[in-house]
């Protein structure tokens, strides 16, 4: 029977690969593939091929960490990962199969052990790719690539088996009437007892740290090593150390010496999983349905739907039956974005943030932490521009899969486009204004002498004018791409692989270029008004808001034109090609 399962796995993988190679005949995948390969070569393969220690034994080392300390830290991280896997999950055992696998394998004369083996076999493919990726990263820190790969494989395979065995054990506990919360309480209770015992042991057995040692990193490292090497924690971490050693081995002899114990741990896990006698079929059927829904959502380009368990959300505002239809799309997408985006909440949040800003500013000013906090706010503000349009996708990127429904609505194209853009633009603008005025209030009230209050207010006011139109323009670009190149977003093939990475890179570069070009007229308007006022009346900071307003008007004009043009594209958007895939 295992040969049939092996055949299924091998042929599925081969066919998937062939399909991917065949689709390279389409330019969008070919260009994506080329760019993706260049990206992977540049960031992953090149460092390995051109590494100074290639062919020589350059030990793997994280700067500032000794091998002993590394081993202790890796063991501790593994322990935490394993503990989380026992504490957090609440569902029953679910070996995730595809719906086709369930339909073919569950009624077939395949033993439960056979199904588990099939699952383990299949997970090896994912482990292989994860191992490859992690090796690319870790190899940059030295050591032999093959040792890293073997070490990662050992760790990932053991963890995979542990998660599976753990899920069987959790199900067995549930079958005995122990609820997930009961299990969590017991584990946390045991953990607390263990921590108390460890604390008591450290208190009694280890020398007390002198106040001077607390500032000495070397002394702290030694103390950490003592704590994790011996006593109760040392015993608990021992198997995790054994598992980490092949990965951390400096050369092949050390690797071979550490391989035996790690393989024993792997074998014990395998026996544990295979001998577990827990019913997983029912939960697997349910899980496969969820998996299928998730895959369908991802394949239709709706990544967010794939991540979400939708919950009922309040109306963001009362939607009257009459009025511009774009508002209906705004209302719908705000619900999609979450009830946290109601106007009432934003008003309350603004008042709170500004009050806190004004209240804490003097304290921050005295402590000298003001510039640090302002810098953090500034970084967050920049991130909203860089990442905001990528994260907030309550627009065409979300609705592409329901485009046939949208097309039946009696709405003008520009209204659909505007309605689709409004939600992410509004949320981003609100967030940016909050950050902007929080930062501004901090700057003004911390009393920073080298920045005049007029400058802060001038720049903040200018940025407030520019924020909504800039967001609209930024969102216009990816949404235009959705309508002009829908195939890049909406594909019946799985959006995976090097070519998909390349496609995303091309899109990102294209968007950045388009955005920079779109900013040029606005920048010219800003410069004209700013320098005009400066030379005419000698204004400096007070010239910023009118200059920004002029730029905002130009950008708003651009955005309006963009919305109208994209509206026409939407009206001519031919779903025929998309429906045919």
């Amino acid at each position: 029977m295992i040969s049939a399962l092996l055949y299924l796995q091998v042929t599925s993988t081969r066919n998937r690969l062939v399909t991917r190679i065949k689709r390279l005949r389409q330019p969008k995948y070919l260009f994506g593939g080329i760019v993706g390969m260049l990206y992977f070569y540049w960031y992953f393969f090149r460092p390995i091929l051109s590494a100074p220690g290639r062919g020589r034994s350059v030990a793997f080392q994280v700067p500032g960490l000794s091998p002993d300390l590394m081993e202790g830290i890796v063991a501790l991280v593994l322990l935490v990962v394993v503990l989380f896997s026992w504490i957090f999950p609440s569902q029953r055992t679910a070996l995730t199969f595809t719906e086709a696998e369930i339909a073919f394998l569950f009624p077939a004369p395949v033993s439960r052990k056979g199904l588990i083996h099939f699952k383990l076999l299949r997970s090896q493919l994912a482990i292989f790719f994860t191992t490859l990726l992690l090796t690319f990263f870790s190899h940059r820190l030295g050591g032999f690539a093959w040792i890293h790969a073997a070490g990662w494989w050992m760790i990932l395979s053991t963890l995979n088996l542990h998660f599976l065995g753990g899920s069987f054990a959790r199900t067995a506990l549930m079958d005995r009437g122990i609820t997930p919360w009961g299990r969590r309480l017991r584990i946390v209770g045991l953990l607390s007892v263990f921590l108390v015992l460890t604390g008591a042991w450290i208190w009694r057995q280890l020398p007390t740290l002198e106040p001077g040692q607390l500032k000495d990193p070397e002394a702290l490292k030694d103390y950490f090593l003592l704590a994790v090497d011996s006593g109760p924690l040392g015993v608990l971490l021992y198997p995790f150390r054994l598992l980490a050693r092949p990965f951390l081995a400096a050369d092949s002899s050390v690797f071979l010496a550490s391989l035996g114990p790690a393989l024993v741990i792997l074998a014990v896990h395998y026996v544990w999983v295979v001998r577990s006698n827990v019913a997983f079929e029912e939960a697997s059927v349910e899980a496969s349905k969820k998996l299928a829904d998730k895959v369908a959502a991802i394949r239709s380009g709706n990544w967010q739907a794939a991540q979400k368990n939708f919950k009922k959300k309040r109306d963001p505002f009362v939607l009257a039956p009459a009025g511009p239809q774009a508002v209906a799309l705004l209302w719908k997408n705000l619900i999609s974005a979450g009830q946290s985006f109601s106007p009432r909440l934003w008003i309350m949040l603004s008042i709170l943030v500004l009050s806190v800003g004004v209240a804490v500013a003097p304290t921050l000013g005295r402590s000298g932490a003001g510039p640090v906090v302002v810098s953090i706010v500034g970084i967050l503000f920049s991130w909203t521009f860089l990442l905001g349009p990528q994260i907030l996708r309550q627009d065409f990127r979300q609705d592409l899969q329901l485009m046939d429904v949208l097309k039946t609505y009696p709405i003008r194209g520009w209204q659909v486009v505007l309605g689709e853009l409004l939600t992410p633009a509004l949320i981003l603008t609100a967030l940016q204004c909050l950050l902007l005025w929080f930062g501004a209030s901090l700057l003004i009230f911390t009393g920073l002498k080298n920045i005049p209050g007029a400058a802060v207010i001038g720049v903040a006011l200018g940025a407030t004018f520019l924020s909504p139109v800039t967001n609209l323009l930024m969102l216009l670009i990816p949404n235009s791409a959705v309508l002009i190149f829908p195939g890049w977003f909406h594909s019946k093939d799985a959006v995976q692989g090097i070519e998909a990475t390349g496609q995303r890179l091309i899109m990102m570069l294209g968007q950045a270029l388009a955005f920079l070009l779109a900013l040029i007229p606005g920048s010219l308007a800003f410069s004209a008004v700013f320098f005009g006022l400066k030379f005419a009346v000698g204004a400096l900071w007070s010239a910023v808001p009118p200059a920004a307003l002029a730029a905002a008007l130009v950008l708003a004009g651009e955005a309006a034109m963009g919305v109208l043009l994209l509206g026409r594209v939407y009206e001519k958007f031919d779903l025929s090609d998309e429906l045919r895939g």
Partner: protein, 253 residues
Amino acid sequence: MIQVDGLTKLYGEFVAVNELSLMVRPGEVMGLVGPNGAGKTSTLRCLAGIIPPTRGTIQICGHDLARAPIEAKQKLAFFTDEPRLFDYLTVWQHLVFTARVYGVQGFAPVAEQLLQELELADKRNALPSELSRGMKQKLVIACGLVHAPQVIFFDEPLTGLDPLGIRRMKDSILKRAREGSAVIISSHLLHLVEEICSHILILKNGRKIADGTMEEITRRFSGTGGTSDLEEIFFRATIEEQAGAAPSSPPVL
């Protein structure tokens, strides 16, 4: 009223719909039947304004769908075989949204009545994920009817419905027709078509091979046996078209 002249839809070189002309008057229910790949769904999608026709004109209540799409779409409703809903809107929110899209003043009593009629009243705060397939279908119908369309297209309307749901759906279609709507139903369920349609249009390979009232179609294809069974008529019509010869019995599988 629906008036279609010379509707042609090409997918590249492939002809999905070929020079199709038809007319459905208020109160008429036309059954669109044909084998798989005949072009039924492409036809309905063109009629609903989802995809543009390659050639031909479509008039919905006197409005040209290509030149006045807003006015035309305002009058129609299209129900797909798979319920297409927004995952994050509740039943009631779907109705509120649809009412705004179609500008239905005072929609609340109409929506309430539809929820009652379709037995969704107790599900008004449920998300689509909490509804069965049949209930999702009912929600789609409620959304489609909230603006009282004068032209209705159904693509396989009975898919996934239980016997009671099927009965209610048939009644609902007939009720809309009696109220003056022009209805087109695409379905493989010939007994449904026979039961509720006043007119039949048989499509094959994108071409109309027969249309008319049930009586006209029956008269044309009944042959010497004098059968009035639509299933037999369907096989005769499609096989006759295929063979280009005298009607014969369908192959036995």
